[in-house]
């Protein structure tokens, strides 16, 4: 297990860690307890391994049962007409098939939602344009629990933009299912207003030879915590999990990933990049990979990079790899937290490029590797503009 923490960095401070071997934790984090029953989980106090980075006081009671639903999420679905959109009740048998809650907030959300949205891309369908799923929060001071399922049936090909906006306190489960030989790309944008709280559990399940591409973009919200677990139902699954986040002063943005390899010949790749600026800007990235004994021929890599733009910001980055078979193609991880590089700025400025523009170039360059892969031009441009805006906000 590796942990890198940076509270106050010196000039050109860089904390780099990279190796491709096994890392054996004290207790397994991969084999995780799950339950649909909220009472099966202790109320987290903040010291538990799962919660030690999260300021539980800012969860508005999502974690201890005190947050009663006072509002609801408003979900709008647009895009290709071939896609089926349903609003269903709790009793719909399809719900919960991608995975069970693994922490108390997820179980609370599971027990508390009243209706769920199910979006299905039918078998053998190629959608012409991205499907947009816009989720509006319940509003300032209100609490809502939600459940969403995106299901890509066999041989379908689609891109989905899952766009979170508005405000409120939100607990939810999201199921992202790519059935056999489906190709599903999901771009999740957490762009709440500054006072919102979101605790989300994403359950990703891949069928045989399914190809799943995920882009997680987290920009807005007072506290956003996203748990993403990927499971493979059969051989040949292929998951790319890419993420970018930008944490401002006062924001807590947390991403926890678990790649659970239980089937042979599957591949996963995790790359998350974050920038932090301003006093008390916080980010947490936990990247767990479990390669179970049956998962021979697994190929996996996880990487997290953080760019600390100003003093006082803090990034935590914890990659963790558990391997139960030696018969694998590859498994590795890398994690780094670096200070904004004065030398890079100097170099660009020494060629006449003004400070603000130089800073923009460097940060865009940092995120560019991931943004370039986003398969929807308008979304990519929106995110580039959003990052420019974040940078301009500091006006340093």
């Amino acid at each position: 297990m590796t942990e890198s923490t940076l509270e106050k960095s010196g000039p050109h401070g860089l904390d780099e860690h990279s190796h491709g071997g096994t890392a054996v934790p004290q207790s397994s984090r991969g084999h995780r307890f799950t339950s649909y029953d909220v009472e099966a989980f202790e109320v987290p106090g903040g010291r538990e391994e799962d919660w030690r980075f999260t300021p539980v006081k800012r969860l508005h009671g999502l974690h201890d049962g005190s947050a009663a639903a006072t509002g609801s999420l408003h979900v709008e679905v647009g895009g290709d007409s071939a896609v089926r959109v349903e609003t269903v009740g709790r009793d719909d048998q399809r719900l919960g098939t991608a995975g069970a809650p693994a922490d108390r907030v997820a179980a609370q959300a599971w027990c508390s939602f009243t209706e769920a949205t199910v979006v299905t891309v039918p078998k053998d369908t190629q959608t012409a344009e991205p499907i947009t799923v816009t989720v509006h929060g319940p509003g300032k001071g209100e609490t809502a629990y939600g459940h969403l399922q995106l299901r890509a049936e066999p041989l379908s090909e689609s891109v989905v933009v899952l766009d979170y906006r508005g405000s409120g306190v939100i607990g939810e489960n999201v199921e992202l299912i790519a059935e056999d030989s489906a190709r599903l790309s999901v771009i999740t944008i957490h762009d709440f207003s500054d006072d919102a709280t979101q605790v989300s559990s994403e359950h990703v399940h891949l069928g045989k030879d399914a190809v799943f591409r995920h882009f997680a973009v987290t920009l807005g919200g007072d506290l956003v915590r996203v748990n993403t677990k990927v499971t493979f139902g059969d051989r040949g699954g292929d998951a790319d999990m890419l993420g970018v986040y930008f944490s401002d002063s006062g924001q807590h943005l947390e991403h926890r990933l678990l790649m659970d390899h239980a089937q042979p010949n599957c591949r996963s790749n995790v790359t998350y990049k974050g920038a932090l600026q301003g006093d008390s800007a916080r980010s947490v990235w936990i990247g767990d990979v479990l390669i179970q004994a049956a998962a021979e021929g697994t190929d996996t890599f996880e990487l997290n990079r953080n760019l600390v733009l100003t003093e006082g910001a803090r990034a935590d980055s914890v990659p963790n790899l558990e391997i139960e078979t030696g018969e694998i193609v590859g498994a590795g991880h890398a994690s780094a937290i670096g200070r904004f590089d004065d030398e890079q700025l100097f170099y660009l400025q020494a060629r006449g490029i003004p400070y603000d523009q130089a800073r923009r170039l460097v940060v865009r360059g940092f995120f560019g590797e991931i943004l370039q892969k986003i398969p929807a031009t308008d979304v990519r441009e929106r995110l580039e503009a959003a990052i420019d805006e974040e940078l301009a906000a500091v006006g340093a």
Binding site: Q344, F346, Y347, A350, V362, R364
Partner: protein
């Protein structure tokens, strides 16, 4: 006719324990059309002079001035200096991941020229400049200096010199780490830059090797953070023969007396 005047320049750098004075009073005037070779042993402060002129934040100027046509350069920000016509070819060019060379060059040209170059002319101009320096066109899509060899980085510094055409260029050991062929390519690039006759060059080097390709009008010997002797090209010949010993001894004697 432009003039770069360095007057009694003192600069220090912060080490972990203390501030250390590196430049101890540099005086030098470079006029357009002149090439000045600036030679000295390792640790004499040559690179510090280059960085101090360019405005690197690590080096603090404590006294003196640097005037570009009478304007105080030291009061300008790093990018203002570049836009005013100063250029520093760095000894160790910095890698900027994710920023393509073409984007970088165009941003720099737009900044120094005051307007974006017309795309059609610009593409042609860059292509020509790259050909002149034996740089493969594929480099324009690579990240700035990332994964470049030492020689490739130096060629790209001269590529920028060629495209930005500054009034004065400080070349900080551009010759170091180059093989014979690369040295010729880079030297040809410098000569192309000065051929118009209105450019001034401060060529910082440890060795006389490059001076066979780039003929200096003046040679200065730099020891202990200041110029200890100035002369014509014949001074370089003497350094080639006898090294820096005479000058370092002279400096020590001066310090002791």
């Amino acid at each position: 006719m432009a003039t770069l005047e360095i007057k009694d320049l003192h600069a220090e750098v912060d080490t972990e324990e203390e501030s250390k004075e590196i430049l101890t009073g540099v005086n030098l005037t470079v006029r357009s059309g002149e090439t000045h070779a600036f030679m000295g042993p390792n640790g004499s402060g040559k690179s510090t002079l280059a960085y101090a002129i360019a405005g690197h934040p690590k080096y603090r100027v404590t006294a003196g001035s640097v005037l570009l046509d009478g304007e105080e350069v030291l009061e300008m920000s790093v990018d203002e200096r570049a836009r005013a016509g100063l250029f520093l070819a760095m000894q160790y060019p910095v890698e900027v991941p994710g920023v393509s060379m073409s984007n970088f060059l165009r941003s720099a040209a737009t900044a120094t020229r005051g307007e974006a170059p017309q795309i059609r002319h610009w593409v042609k101009e860059v292509k020509q400049a790259m050909n002149n320096l034996d740089i493969d066109e594929s480099f324009s899509e690579r990240s700035v200096n990332e994964g470049f060899s030492g020689g490739e980085k130096k060629r790209h510094e001269i590529l920028q010199l060629d495209l930005l055409k500054p009034t004065f260029a400080v070349l900080d050991e551009t010759d170091s780490g180059l093989d014979v062929d690369a040295l010729r390519v880079v030297s040809d690039g410098i000569n192309r830059y000065t051929e118009s006759g209105d450019k001034g060059v401060l060529l910082i080097t440890h060795y006389t090797r490059i001076l066979k390709h780039v003929r200096p009008d003046y040679v200065h010997v730099f020891v202990g953070g200041q110029v200890v002797e100035s002369g014509g090209p014949e001074l370089a010949d003497e350094l080639e023969e006898s090294g820096y010993v005479r000058f370092t001894e002279k400096k020590e004697a001066a310090v002791q007396s």
